[in-house]
Every structure is written in structure tokens, then in C-alpha cells.
């Protein structure tokens, strides 16, 4: 490249007016040629950027990355493989839970209120007759007692007509008092 051309390109470069191709030309010039003394001050910049372009990841990077990706893929595959199995297991567990709770519910509704406590029917019969005998005895006793009270009342010879007349008198007296009060109010 001519010196004039370089000067022109450099001027454009500092003003950000160069195209990408022109910038590439500058980089090539400063990195491939013996740099004239008057450009030695700016040449390192182009050399620096040119060399930075060569920076690359280390050779072992791909191997490490692929290893990590494979690990992730394995995990993903295991989850993917076991997903339907897990779904089935969840369904089975749900159905089992549902059926067990149903069974318990049915059993609880079938439960007898009077449980069988006697194994021998004869003994049960005996006990039952004994209980009923006791009950009838108690009833008989209470009947006898009430009859006795009635007899005693009759034996008292109470004059019921006299008691009734007393009642009537009280009733009449009350009516009279009420009439008097009404009259007083009217006056």
C-alpha cells in the first residue's frame, strides 16, 4: 500500500468512516509488513486486534462440553423413560387408595348395632326369659300397689260433694269481685 493510501485510511479509521474491508486492509498491512517508522506508534493497535482474533477455546473444551451434554442427555432420557412408569404407578396408587377407602366405608355401614355376645343359643334364651320374668314381676308389683292406693282412698270416705260446693263458692265470690271492679271503673 502507498503511504498516501495508508494515511487516508488511518484518517478515516480514527473518524469511524472506514468500511469493514478497509479496516481489514489496515490490519493486514500492519501485521504482515515491516512497518515504516512513522507508523510505529499506532501499529501495535492493529497488531493487537489482529492477534486477539486468533484467541480460541482450549482443545479440551469440546470434550468437556460434550461430556456435560451427554450427562444431561442421560438424565433427560431416564426421566423420559420412567415418566410413563411413574404415571402408571401414580394411577395404581390412586385406584388402590380409592378402593380401600370404599371398602372401609362399606364395612362401617354394615356394622351391627346389636352384637352377638352369646355363643350358645340356649344360654341366650335363658337369660332373655329371666330378664322378661323380672320385668313382668316388676309390672305386677306396680299394678298391685296402685290398686291398694285406690282401695285406701275409698276407705277414707271423703265427702266429694262438699268439696265441690266449696269450690263453687270460691268461684262465685271471684265473679262478684270482678263485677264490682267493673262498675267502679264505669263510675
Amino acid at each position: 500500500m502507498e503511504r498516501e493510501q495508508i494515511d487516508k485510511l488511518l484518517g478515516k479509521y480514527w473518524n469511524c468512516e472506514t468500511s469493514l474491508e478497509e479496516e481489514q486492509l489496515l490490519q493486514q498491512f500492519f501485521s504482515e509488513n515491516v512497518v515504516p517508522d512513522n507508523y510505529k506508534n499506532v501499529a501495535p493497535l492493529f497488531l493487537y486486534t489482529h492477534n486477539e482474533q486468533k484467541e480460541k477455546l482450549s482443545d479440551s473444551f469440546d470434550e468437556k462440553l460434550n461430556q456435560k451434554i451427554e450427562e444431561r442427555q442421560k438424565k433427560y432420557i431416564t426421566i423420559k423413560l420412567f415418566a410413563p412408569a411413574l404415571k402408571i404407578a401414580a394411577m395404581v396408587a390412586f385406584i388402590l387408595a380409592l378402593s380401600f377407602s370404599g371398602l372401609f366405608w362399606i364395612n362401617s355401614t354394615k356394622k351391627q348395632h346389636f352384637a352377638e355376645t352369646y355363643n350358645d343359643p340356649l344360654a341366650a334364651y335363658k337369660e332373655a326369659t329371666l330378664a322378661l320374668d323380672k320385668l313382668s314381676l316388676a309390672l305386677q308389683k306396680s299394678e298391685k300397689a296402685s290398686l291398694e292406693t285406690l282401695v285406701q282412698l275409698n276407705e277414707l270416705n271423703v265427702d266429694w260433694d262438699f268439696i265441690d260446693s266449696l269450690n263453687m263458692e270460691i268461684y262465685k265470690n271471684e265473679e262478684e269481685i270482678e263485677l264490682k271492679e267493673e262498675q267502679n271503673l264505669k263510675l
Binding site: 479496516e23 501495535p44 493497535l45 492477534n51 486477539e52 484467541e55 480460541k56 477455546l57 456435560k68 451434554i69
Partner: protein, 180 residues
């Protein structure tokens, strides 16, 4: 996105993404670690990737975000100057010029480090990756004007630093001669 498509489209971006991370964090093993994390994250959601319009810009943004996160998390000290192996390869270098180049490279790196994160990323994408202004704007989610202004400032900061260094060397040489 299928596994094959992932290998075809995303994985070839790995070196570009690595350089971008490296330009921010300036630590090779850390940058490599970041790229591995970015690629694994992208792998995990590869099904969603097919819906993304500009996948390359998306990958760059993912890398940039993770690198900046890592940088702030570890309060990473950017002390490591990337080794100058490339400077050593030029045919015309002598031990003296190598020494000068190393010094110059560290000046360039110091200048880059002093730029804002946006300027730094714009500079890296233009100079190292050769992206157009439009592509840089899309990648960094900025307007093309901001991209141009950032690049202008970045280039001129480096230029003035280099010129300052050059005049400093000349003054020193001239000073030595007069002392004699």
C-alpha cells in the same frame, strides 16, 4: 431446536463468544468456564431457541450478561495481561521490539480496561469480530448512533494513549542523547 441443529448453529459460535467474554473478564480459564455455562444453559432450553429471531445476538447477550454477572460477583481483578504470544511471532521483532510491544500491548489493554462496558464491547465486536454497525447494534441492543459514538471514543482514547507513549519514548531518547 433439535440436537443436530444445536450442534450446527449454536456450537460454532463458541470461539466468538469466548473472545467476547475474554474481552470483558480478561481471564482465559474463567472465560472458558463462562462459555461452558452459557452453552449448557442454551442446551437446556434448546426447544425455545428455534423461536428466537437473531440467535447469534441472543447468544452474545447471554454471554455478556453472564460475564458481567461473574465479574461483579467475584469482583474479579483484571490483573492478568493476556500473554503476548502473538507479538512474539512477528518476523521483524527483536528482543528490544518485543519488550516495546509488550509494553505497548499493556498500554492498549489498560486503555480498553478504562473504557465503559459498552465501548469495550463495541470495540471488541468491531475490531476482533468484524461486525457491521447494524450487527453490533442488534447484538448489544443499542442504536447505531450510540455504537458509532462508542467506537469513535474507544479508538480515539487508544490513539491518544499510544501517541502519548510514543512522544514519551522520543523525549526519553532525546534526553539520553543530550545527557551524553
Amino acid at each position: 431446536m433439535s440436537t443436530e441443529r444445536f450442534h450446527e448453529i449454536v456450537l460454532p459460535l463458541k470461539d466468538k463468544l469466548y473472545r467476547h467474554a475474554l474481552s470483558i473478564i480478561r481471564d482465559r480459564s474463567e472465560a472458558e468456564d463462562i462459555i461452558q455455562d452459557v452453552l449448557l444453559k442454551l442446551w437446556d432450553k434448546k426447544k425455545e431457541l428455534s423461536q428466537i429471531e437473531n440467535l447469534e445476538a441472543y447468544c452474545y447477550r447471554a454471554t455478556r450478561n453472564l460475564t458481567l454477572d461473574r465479574l461483579s460477583m467475584k469482583s474479579f481483578r483484571k490483573t492478568e495481561t493476556l500473554d503476548m504470544k502473538s507479538f512474539e511471532l512477528t518476523e521483524t521483532t527483536t528482543p528490544q521490539t518485543l519488550f516495546e510491544n509488550k509494553e505497548t500491548a499493556s498500554i492498549i489493554e489498560q486503555c480498553i480496561d478504562e473504557l465503559s462496558e459498552t465501548q469495550k464491547s463495541v470495540f471488541q465486536l468491531r475490531e476482533m469480530e468484524g461486525m457491521s454497525y447494524k450487527e453490533i447494534a442488534e447484538t448489544l441492543d443499542l442504536s447505531q448512533d450510540i455504537v458509532k459514538v462508542s467506537l469513535f471514543r474507544a479508538r480515539n482514547n487508544i490513539k491518544s494513549a499510544l501517541l502519548k507513549k510514543d512522544s514519551f519514548i522520543k523525549e526519553n531518547k532525546y534526553g539520553k542523547r543530550t545527557n551524553r
